[in-house]
Symmetry: C2
Subunit: 382 residues, 2 copies
């Protein structure tokens, strides 16, 4: 290992599986799939997904065709891989060859999929599933009100499609009191009650209904339907705003001290000279920066932990470096090569991903998905 100064991202696969099992129990009698888009939120879908599969997960969700193709190379047929972002023109053959399931978001996508189902290779069409995404208020992806009414009015629009999943997505599920939740639940129920689908080509029964993602699993059970789609909760990010987090931490994020430096009153620290030293103290320069996904907004805010003690961030975050104040710590605890904690362990000796996100002015999701390629990724407990 030439570069012993590379920052470290440790993923506890055992904790991740414990979270999956907790989510499965919470969602019962619904089953739980898993959302592993954006390379499993930056943690490595090729490592995460096989462990979930062994734990019984049979429904995987990704955003794009590229992600689906990559995941299929890791997960042999037998598990379902759904494409949340729909059906890009020209991708039909690749999707079918890899047995991916496009979630159709528009009438145009439905029509394109129907044409494909009728085209060359139509004999295989019975094997191919598709999903339907109805927008119920997020106004982002999925069939809009008018398209939904069209589809309910004319079920033949789906002739030849083999619909295995009917889904929608909540806008405010992390806030259980938000009235939007009930509105979307009611809209989804009405769609499920009124939608008439053609008989399944593969002889399957009614499609799975799915509304809840991570946060939705912590809403009442009428939000759970047949299939829940946890994503960020698998990785220990808090699913409910302001509530205690029932999930186990999965990540530990560490970087090494490169250098120590005594500073005094006449000095400033970092770009823009934004931190004025307020008395004789010692700074440590850490080998991690915003190119690694440690947000620049953390400059002069927040902290890291060294040997279980809080060390405030001083000065701006640089591209590859950041500086912390360690003047209050015994010198033997802070040496070049000492690992400091940016995420984990548990408070009071460390901070959660949500703590770091709050200090950064964002949410755990964005922290996760921006952790950069220079982190050494280490997996344990699988």
């Amino acid at each position: 290992m030439p570069d012993s100064y590379a920052p470290v991202l440790s993923v506890d696969l055992g904790a991740m599986l414990a979270n999956y099992n907790l989510l499965c129990r919470r969602a019962l009698p619904a089953i739980c799939g898993a959302v592993v888009k954006a390379d499993a939120y930056g943690l490595g879908a090729a490592m995460i997904a096989p462990h979930l599969k062994r734990a019984g997960c049979a429904h995987f969700f990704v955003a794009t065709v590229d992600e689906g193709l990559a995941l299929r190379r890791v997960l042999l047929p037998g598990v379902k891989i759904y494409l949340l972002d729909g059906l890009p023109p020209g991708a039909e053959n690749d999707i079918a060859a890899a047995e991916l399931i496009p979630i159709l978001n528009t009438l145009a996508e439905i029509e394109r999929w129907r044409s494909f189902q009728r085209g060359p290779g139509a004999k295989a069409a019975a094997l191919r599933q598709a999903g339907l995404h109805f927008d119920t208020g997020l106004n982002r992806l999925g069939l809009d009100r008018r398209a939904t009414l069209d589809l309910i009015g004319d079920p033949h629009l789906l002739d030849g499609c083999n619909i295995g999943l009917v889904m929608s997505h909540l806008a405010c599920a992390d806030d259980p009191e938000h009235p939007m939740n009930r509105t979307q639940l009611q809209a989804f129920r009405e769609i499920a009650a009124n939608l008439r689908l053609p008989p399944r080509l593969d002889g399957g029964g009614r499609p799975l209904l799915s509304l809840a993602a991570s946060s939705g699993i912590f809403l009442p059970s009428d939000y759970h339907f047949d299939l829940a789609r946890p994503g960020v909760a698998l990785y220990g990010v808090s699913p409910v705003l302001g509530a205690e987090n029932p999930l186990a931490p999965v990540l530990r994020l560490q970087a090494k001290i490169l250098q120590l430096r005594d500073v005094d009153l006449d000095m400033t620290v970092g770009y823009g000279a934004s931190h004025q030293v307020r008395g004789p103290t010692c700074l440590a320069t850490i080998g991690v920066g915003y190119a690694d996904g440690i947000f620049r907004s953390l400059g002069n805010r927040g902290a890291v932990f060294v040997a279980g003690q809080r060390a405030p961030i001083v000065g701006r975050i640089s591209m590859d470096l950041m500086t912390i104040d360690v003047g209050h710590m015994p010198r033997q605890a802070v040496q070049p090569g000492t690992l400091v904690d940016l995420i984990g362990p548990a408070a009071p000796r460390g901070q959660s991903i949500d703590d770091l996100a709050t200090a950064s002015g964002t949410i755990g999701y964005e922290i996760l998905t921006n952790l950069g390629p220079r982190f050494q990724r280490r997996y344990s407990g699988g």
Copy 2:
């Protein structure tokens, strides 16, 4: 190309080389190296560096040993590759084998490098260069005041080292009026005047002096010394706060419309229902989100450009998706599959990376280095 919806990052290598040449002229009689750390600020060092080498660049700077080893596999010996983050313990052999040049930041690193120079393989020692980094006020990396005085007081501390570069780094170079610039310049001059180095093992002359990075090149010529180290300016990011940017844009960042949606007064958009629709309009959902490095802080702020027209971002940025208001545009200009511009072309038909950074609450550097792996990277003009 299965995933025709993947977002696109286009890099104009011709513009990058034009910027390099402009920076070279501006720095004359100093020469210009290039900083290609963080994978050439996210643009791909393996593509960028060989073009710079062909343009005459012979001094490349990276942050870490891993980056240096990767770059050496691309650039054959003959160009110099410097490691800004110093000498990690145990990395000496790898560094020597790849002919990388560690920039020594502490007396402990100097002592470790001296030991290595005297150890097995010492016959090759004359071939190995090292650099010295003196901190002159950034208080981040480099020899501090006390270590600097020690080194000036006892030149034998460097016996056996073959110092080819003496550098420092400015804290406030993007603000030409900042008094810190003169303070650091004066400190660096004093170091250069007082430092006595042992004779070069390789028979080389005095080491190159280097103080200016991208912004420093736009300070007066007394900041330029022998070697300038432009980084972000190569890629068109503005080097001077509030001044006209003399550099050519290098990037174009585009993503595709996945879906269009008519919305009306009773609707909200996105997570948290944070955008209330103010009248009948049309939204487009774009296949790019914060997992791609489009900052979540852009939600309900800023804009993208569609066919040269500004389209405001509405609602929160999602992980893989964002929504824009296109109600004011002719329908034929906005169709599923239409590419919209997040960065480029030039105003008024597009926005610069600095514009996007400002709307995101950060700087161009952080935008660049966070562009994610899902972008199709396309290079032209090399």
